[in-house]
Amino acid sequence: MSDRITVAKTYKLYIGGKFPRSESGRSYPVSDSKGTFLANAAQGSRKDARDAVSAARKAFGGWSGATAYNRGQVLYRVAEVLEGRREQFVTEVAASEGVALKKAQTLVDTAIDRWVWYAGWTDKIAAVLGSSNPVAGPYFSFSTPEPTGVVAVLAPQQSSLLGLISVIAPVIASGNTCVVITSQDRPLPAITLSEVLATSDVPGGVVNIVTGRTAEIAPWLASHGDVNALDLTGAPADIRADLERSAAGTVKRVLRNKQNEDFTATPDMSRLRAYLETKTVWHPMGV
């Protein structure tokens, strides 16, 4: 064994396809489940969240305008790259969540499968949730689901990779862009995921990942005028009501999931459906 010093990684934020440090210059120590120091992560501020929202808004036009088929291909590509990083994720998940390697492997595999599951949905959403409507008039009326816009996601606090992927994938599969506040105490797999996203054809700004204190940043996203939806999954129980109230001030879609959701179970469409708007078109016919 050589006495080489390993190169420690600087964990940074992921905003607009770049990896900046927090604007505030702060960082906080991240420990494993037994309290042993793992790394320092950037402690994002409200201004980082603001920058992330502008990046997400900028990316929305291109991502929502891409064909569903194309989005599916890009998401599938992410799964390919995830697979290549499998070992790294297993190590990080095992350290963060304090589970045995075997269990961590299952979690990572399920997470990758979950990503593929959502990738398959991209070009099926319109067929399942859209409709042609029977109307009493000389019109062809049809409804199609459209992405709502920028979604602020408070990632689950416990499930650091499977949970994270289970909340991000449905948001971007339908063409939304998102700002994710990671698990406060287990942010490392999320930062590694951002490296995967950066190297797998996902346009910069479609997913923006901010690490830090959820309770500090979440209120700014909940009240932000340019955020269209809010996922409360990882919100601390004591501020949930406040977040919902301030989200109502700018009429956001709010996803109130049940606490301690089981992410290992195969999901249904509810997360996909939560961030869609229905556009109905009345087209004159019979001329």
Partner: protein, 318 residues
């Protein structure tokens, strides 16, 4: 060559003939490029927060020359711009109105009709904007037309080709003649600093425009990159400050093009205060030539007052 106003003897000498003009302009001290860029960057780091920021935002709004200079402009677009100039944020009547609406000459009447009695000026670009490549007769006719249509401010472009080949006398004459053609209208002289290459040239062009009687010196047309930058604006602010020291007259500066965010605008205001002085913090002496800046100022204003971030859904689409 005719000096437009009574000047102190040193300056009167400078405009006696072309060679003394050249001697004067080339005798101006050179600009320390590194120094001015560092100073501009340094002043740009000033932190303006809370009440001061709110004040700066309102001041910046009142300094905006709301501009549309596109080939695709229509009367409808100019009318909606005029409506926005009068009441930038319809939900908040306390937002100040902008300083002027800036359009092409054929749109002046449309804008002027909509802005009668509001105190908002109508500015028109003229003199074969943006290149300035036409004959003197056409430039004069362009200016007269704009003024007849109701423009109270004229934004002329200098002949950069003549300036860069050293024909300062020709540029001077042009500005003097356009100033005459303007009558009562204010004249802003666009230097197009992006084409002047050096800060020394910017300083010379600024002094040339001031000597010839320009009421404002303006950085750019907005059609050439780079447009307005902080260091260039610094050099121009120094020129109007020095002009005031030597003649007692107040002349204005207008950076235009590329200023899109509130943060940028506040950096400019800091520069105005520190380089020229407090009395230039006035819409009569400092303007922003901008179109997208106004929306950002309005969003920032809402953010300051509402206590949460605002978004483009809450301002107009121009």
């Amino acid at each position: 060559m005719a000096a437009p106003t009574t000047l102190p003897s040193a300056l009167a000498d400078a405009v006696r003939d072309e060679s003394s003009l050249r001697r004067f302009l080339h005798g101006l001290p050179g600009v320390d490029q590194v120094g001015v860029e560092q100073r501009a960057a340094g002043l740009g780091t000033r932190s303006i927060k809370k009440a001061a920021k709110l004040h700066a935002i309102d001041l910046a709004i009142s300094m905006v020359d709301l501009t549309t200079l596109e080939g695709a402009d229509t009367h409808g677009k100019v009318r909606s711009l005029a409506a926005k100039a009068k009441r930038p944020d319809p939900e908040r009547p306390d937002v100040p109105k902008v300083a002027a609406v800036c359009v092409y000459p054929d749109m002046v009447k449309t804008a002027a009709d909509d802005l009668v009695g509001t105190g908002i000026n109508v500015a028109s670009v003229a003199t074969a904007f943006p290149s300035g490549r036409s004959t003197m007769d056409i430039k004069l006719a362009d200016t007269r037309f704009a003024v007849e249509q109701g423009a109270s401010e004229v934004d002329m472009v200098i002949d950069r080709g003549a300036f860069l080949s050293g024909r300062y006398g020709q540029v001077f004459e042009e500005i003097v003649k356009i100033k005459e053609a303007c009558g009562d209208a204010h004249l802003k002289v666009i230097l197009e600093t992006g084409e002047l290459v050096t800060y020394d040239n910017v300083r010379r062009a600024s002094w040339l425009a001031l000597l010839a009687g320009g009421d404002f010196i303006k950085t750019s047309t907005g059609k050439v990159q780079p447009a307005a930058t902080l260091p260039v604006t610094h050099v121009m602010l120094q020129a109007v400050r020095d002009w005031k020291q030597q003649t007692g007259e107040l002349r204005g500066v207008k950076p235009a093009g590329g200023i899109r965010t509130t943060k940028d605008a506040i950096k400019y205001l800091v520069a105005v205060h520190e380089v020229a002085g407090r009395e230039w913090l006035d819409p009569n002496l400092f303007r922003f030539g901008a179109s997208t800046l106004l929306n950002d100022l309005l969003m920032q204003r809402r953010t300051q007052l509402d206590g949460h971030y605002s978004g483009p859904d809450y301002v107009t689409v121009d």
